[in-house]
Amino acid sequence: MQPLLELKDVSFSYGVTPVLEGVSLHLHPGQFAALVGPSGAGKTSLLRLLLGTLQPTHGEVLLHGRALKEGLTPQVGYVPQLETVDWRFPVTVEQVVLMGRVRRASVWPWPSAADKQLVNETLERLDLAGLAGRHIRDLSGGQQQRVFLARALISEPDLLVLDEPTTGVDVRTAENVLHLLAHLNQQGITILMTTHDLNAAAAHLPWVICLNRRVVAQGAPEDIFTTDILNETYQGDMLVIRQGGMLFVQQKPHGHSYREVVPNPVPGHTPVDEAENGYPAPAISI
C-alpha cells in the first residue's frame, strides 16, 4: 500500500543550526500517530515541513507519492495550538469553521447553502450544535478545541494534523479530545498529532514516533515506551511503569522533594510526616 505521507531522509536547519537530520518515516491511510519528543526536538518544524510552510534543506516530503513543492499547499486539515489563537478577534464559531472551506469557496462573501449545511452537520457531529452564532471566546476549552477540529474536518483533508491538542486544556477535556480523535480515526481519517503527554499517548494512540532531531524509534507505545528509548529521546532519566496492562511514564525524581527545598511551604502549617500517617509524602519534585 502506498503511504499517505512519506518523509525521505529529510533534514532541515535554521541557518547553521540543524533541527532535523535524516528523518525518514511513513504514515499510511487510516493511521493514528503521535509525534513525541522534548521541546526543541523538531516536532513543530516537522509539522511545518509536511504542511508545506517550510522546505527541507535535504530530502523530500511526499503526500500520496507526490513531492510537496514550494507554494503548493497539501490537502491537510490543521488544528493549531489553542494558545496561538487570538481569542479577542471578533469571529463566530460558524465563521471559523467556514474558513476550512476557503479553498472551495465561491467568490461571494456569504457562504453557499451547501457550505452552511456542511457546517451544521460538522458542528452536530462534534457535539457543537446550536453554537454556530457564538463568539469563540465564549466557549469552554473543549468546545474551542472541537471548533478548530471542525474547521479542519470541513476542509475534507487527506490528513488531519494537530499541534499539541491536549495542551492548555484540563485533564478531562484532553481525555475527551483524544476519544474524539480515536472515533474520527475509526471513521477512516488519518491523524498525526504532537503531544507532550506521554501517558495519554500510551493510553490512546496506537502508533508513536519518538523524535529528537532524528527518529529515535517508532511503533506501538507498548513496544517503544521503554526506559532506554525514552532516555535517548528525552536525554533524561525516564521511568516506565507497566501495571495491569497499562503503561505509565514519569521522569525520575531528582532525589530532593519540595520539603527539602521549602521545609514549611504553608506558613503556620507543619507538614505531616510520612511516618506519622503511613502514607508516602507527595512525590512532587522541583
Partner: protein
C-alpha cells in the same frame, strides 16, 4: 433652516463634504483590517511615505495620484518584504522606510521652496482645494477598494485572523497582502487632501476601534466602522465651517469624542453586568 443649510450653498463645501463622507467610509472599511491585524501604526507611516511620493511627483511633474500611488505601494511592499525576509519587526521596518520616504519629501521641499504652501495643505488637509475631479477619484477608489474587499472577503478574514494557518489552508496570503497594501495606499492618497498626512492615521484607526468596542461580530464591526467614518466625515466638515477650524482636525476630534462616548457606554455596561452577576 436656511442658516443650517448655508454652507451647502458653496460648491467647495459640497465637494468637500462628499469627499469627507467617502473617505470616512473608505478609511472606516480599511481600518477594520488594520486594527484587527495590530497594524495601526502602518497608516501613520504609510501616509508619511506617500507624502515623499507626492513631492517627488510634483518635482518630476508626474500625475500626483499615479506618482504618490506607486510610491506608497512600493513603500508598503518594501515594509512587507523587509518583515518577511529579515529579522526586523514590522514597527521598525515601518519606522525606517516611511520616515526615509518622508525625509525625501522634506528635503525636496527645502531645496525647491516655491511650493511650500501646497505641501502645507498635504500635511494638514485643505478642503477648499477639493474639486469635482477629486470627488470623482475618491468615489472611484471607494468603489474599487469596496469591491476588492467584497470579493476577497473570505480570504481577507482568514488572513487577518491567522495568516500562517490561512496559508496552510490554501489562501495565497502573499497576494492577499499585496492587494491589501495597494488598497491601503490608494485609500491614503485620496484621503490626503481632506485629512492631511498627519491625521489620516487617526481616521483609519478610530472608527474601527470604536466599532470594535461596540460589537463582537466581524460583519457588524465593518458596518459600524463605515457608518462612524462617514457620519464623522459629514458632521466634522459641517462643524468645521461654523467653528472655523481645519476640516481634518474637526473630523478626527469628532471621531475621538464618539470613541470616548462608546468607551464610556461599554465600560458602564460591563460594570452593570458584573454587578448583576455578583448579586444573582
Amino acid at each position: 433652516m436656511d442658516i443650517l443649510l448655508q454652507p451647502f450653498q458653496y460648491e467647495f463645501f459640497r465637494n468637500g463634504t462628499l469627499a469627507a463622507v467617502l473617505t470616512g467610509a473608505l478609511c472606516g472599511l480599511i481600518g477594520v483590517y488594520i486594527v484587527l491585524r495590530g497594524m495601526s501604526y502602518i497608516g501613520h507611516g504609510l501616509s508619511h511615505a506617500i507624502f515623499g511620493g507626492a513631492v517627488v511627483s510634483f518635482v518630476m511633474q508626474w500625475n500626483f495620484y499615479l506618482g504618490a500611488g506607486v510610491w506608497g505601494f512600493i513603500a508598503a511592499i518594501l515594509i512587507n518584504q523587509t518583515v518577511r525576509r529579515t529579522k526586523i519587526g514590522a514597527d521598525a521596518a515601518i519606522g525606517v522606510i516611511t520616515t526615509a520616504s518622508f525625509a525625501v519629501g522634506v528635503a525636496l521641499i527645502s531645496r525647491y521652496r516655491r511650493f511650500t504652501r501646497s505641501f502645507d495643505a498635504a500635511l494638514f488637509g485643505n478642503i477648499l482645494g477639493v474639486t469635482w475631479q477629486d470627488v470623482f477619484v475618491v468615489a472611484a477608489v471607494t468603489v474599487l477598494v469596496g469591491g476588492l474587499i467584497f470579493f476577497l472577503y473570505k480570504q481577507l478574514l482568514f488572513t487577518t485572523f491567522d495568516a500562517e494557518v490561512a496559508r496552510i489552508y490554501g489562501v495565497k496570503t502573499e497576494w492577499v497582502d499585496t492587494l491589501f497594501a495597494l488598497a491601503l495606499a490608494a485609500a491614503l492618497i485620496v484621503s490626503m487632501q481632506i485629512m492631511g498626512v498627519t491625521l489620516i492615521a487617526a481616521a483609519l484607526v478610530v472608527p474601527a476601534i470604536t466599532a470594535r468596542l461596540l460589537t463582537d461580530s466581524f460583519n457588524r464591526m465593518i458596518m459600524y466602522s463605515i457608518v462612524i467614518g462617514a457620519l464623522t466625515g459629514f458632521f466634522g466638515m459641517y462643524f468645521s465651517y461654523y467653528i472655523d477650524v481645519a476640516s481634518g482636525a474637526t473630523i478626527v476630534l469628532l471621531q475621538a469624542v464618539v470613541f470616548g462616548v462608546a468607551l464610556g457606554i461599554t465600560t458602564y455596561q460591563k460594570r452593570v453586568e458584573r454587578l448583576v452577576h455578583t448579586h444573582v
